[in-house]
Point group: C2
Chain length 261, copies 2
DNA sequence: AAGCTGAGTTCCATTATTTGGAACACGCGA
DNA sequence: TCGCGTGTTCCAAATAATGGAACTCAGCTT
């Protein structure tokens, strides 16, 4: 119905505000939130008050800033323990990263956007900018494209509908016309590559993580820089990557948590 | 104003429901939530719908159950990265646990209740029931009492006001009359002991973690069973425990996140 | 196959809450 | 003291939440 993440009356707005505040990734002043939120001063003020009151945010009196609250930390941790692929995937991701000495990303999808669930950077691995909990577009990342390729048709349709098609580099897909054929190719090959589509000089190779019934529950990728390795060279890790993806998938065969499109 | 965690209109109710669902720790049926929530059928139904719609919960069509949603996982992870003592405390807690071969807990406080932030059980350590994200009362745990002892007077007053005084064992404090004197003692000694007050046979020794300005930002404890060790014996780890607490505190000297009382 | 039961969903007039423009308070530097 | 940028409070109008009751649907029983 509504493609917007917003909506749903008061609760939707409150969660929207929560998302904004936490998304800053640091303590924020009222006016900063006001600037980026679509709500009028009084409304936002009341919203922040409610969220603080509820323990989802905390207000630092001295500095006059809002930060994430303990209740959010607690509920979020609980949710993480239950629904995050990281809990069962981390050991395998760590083993892979250690084995090949390259950075490994673990991702899931939320409404057509990639959510980085975890990352492992081994000694000497390439330090990527991804941070767990961050979101990125799906159309320009290896982990995103591979999930799009293997998800249900209707979910994919909805996800593609919601893409922003922002052009991060000259190689970024700018619309379904070029993306859809690549997705088909990805389905054939069983892997997706990020050819500097999200960031100049950064490449990756991603495999889908399939739980019970072949349903995609996330994806895993090896990320590096073109200065360290070419796309061809990264290909030599293909067996290791697909093996790890399969291991995690086996572990998550009875995965009860749906990947939200 | 209101001591209840509930309140604050629609948003409060929605968060309440979210808390309930996630608190189950597993996929739940509508009727299960209905049973424990104070809301009428229609209201709860709408609430769950809204939360699902917002990505905070996810609904499994096949099984007809609700689980934590990806959006909650994402926001929660973000919050965790920012505000959890675990992020900076874990390495030290791990070192301590490895050193003494006993289980170590890391905790913070939310509205007078202890939230377990992280735990480390080394090879051969005593496996405790605490799980990160879980809550326990403050009046009967080492980590809780030590935070109560060292927090601001007004915060302590509010926190003590909110205690349930549930008697888990014969040794549990049943009211402020006996707890307050012990808190004073704890302040003197600089440590708190749990003398089988939460669970028969389980004891612990806890130290406060103090950030900048001596403000308590959490606590750390060594937990074991009376079958493994006596209260006296656990005391030999005192230097190690206080050293670790100090290390974490130094790391968190510029800790920007308030410990919500 | 009709009837029953329990779980989940929908309806809608009533009621309570949210809304946000505007006025107000506060701290701070000039 | 004035002015400015922030943050807070008010309150009548507008909107959204409420929940009892009726309904649907699947599975089970007689």
């Amino acid at each position: 119905m509504n493609t917007q993440a917003t909506g749903d009356g008061t609760v939707g707005k409150a969660l929207d505000v929560l998302d904004i505040v936490v998304g800053f990734g640091r303590a924020v002043r009222f006016s900063e939130v006001l600037e980026v939120s679509p709500y009028p001063k009084a409304t936002l003020h009341r919203m922040l008050g409610t969220l603080t009151n509820q323990g989802m945010l905390a207000y630092d009196d001295d500095r006059g800033v809002y930060v994430a609250g303990m209740r959010l930390v607690r509920i979020g941790r609980h949710a993480w323990n239950q629904s995050s692929l990281a809990v069962l995937g981390r050991p395998f991701a760590e083993a892979l990263a250690e084995d090949i000495k390259e950075t490994v990303h673990l991702a899931q999808m939320e409404r057509g956007r990639v959510v980085f669930i975890d990352k492992v950077t081994p000694e000497g691995g390439f330090p990527t900018m991804a941070r767990s909990g961050r979101r990125s577009p799906a159309h320009c990342t290896g982990v995103g494209k591979v999930m799009l390729a293997f998800m249900d048709d209707d979910r994919r349709a909805a996800a593609i509908e919601g893409q922003t098609w922002e052009a991060f580099t000259p190689k970024t897909h700018q619309g379904p016309e070029t993306l859809l054929p690549e997705l088909e190719e990805i389905r054939d090959v069983g892997l997706a590559y990020d050819r500097e589509e999200h960031e100049q000089g950064i490449i990756s190779m991603a495999a889908p993580i399939k739980g019970g019934g072949g349903r995609v529950i996330g994806s895993i990728s090896i990320v590096t820089s073109v200065n360290r390795m070419s796309l061809d060279e990264i290909g030599k890790y293909r067996p290791a990557l697909t093996r790890t993806a399969a291991q995690i998938g086996r572990e998550g065969a009875v995965w009860p948590y749906p990947v939200v499109s």
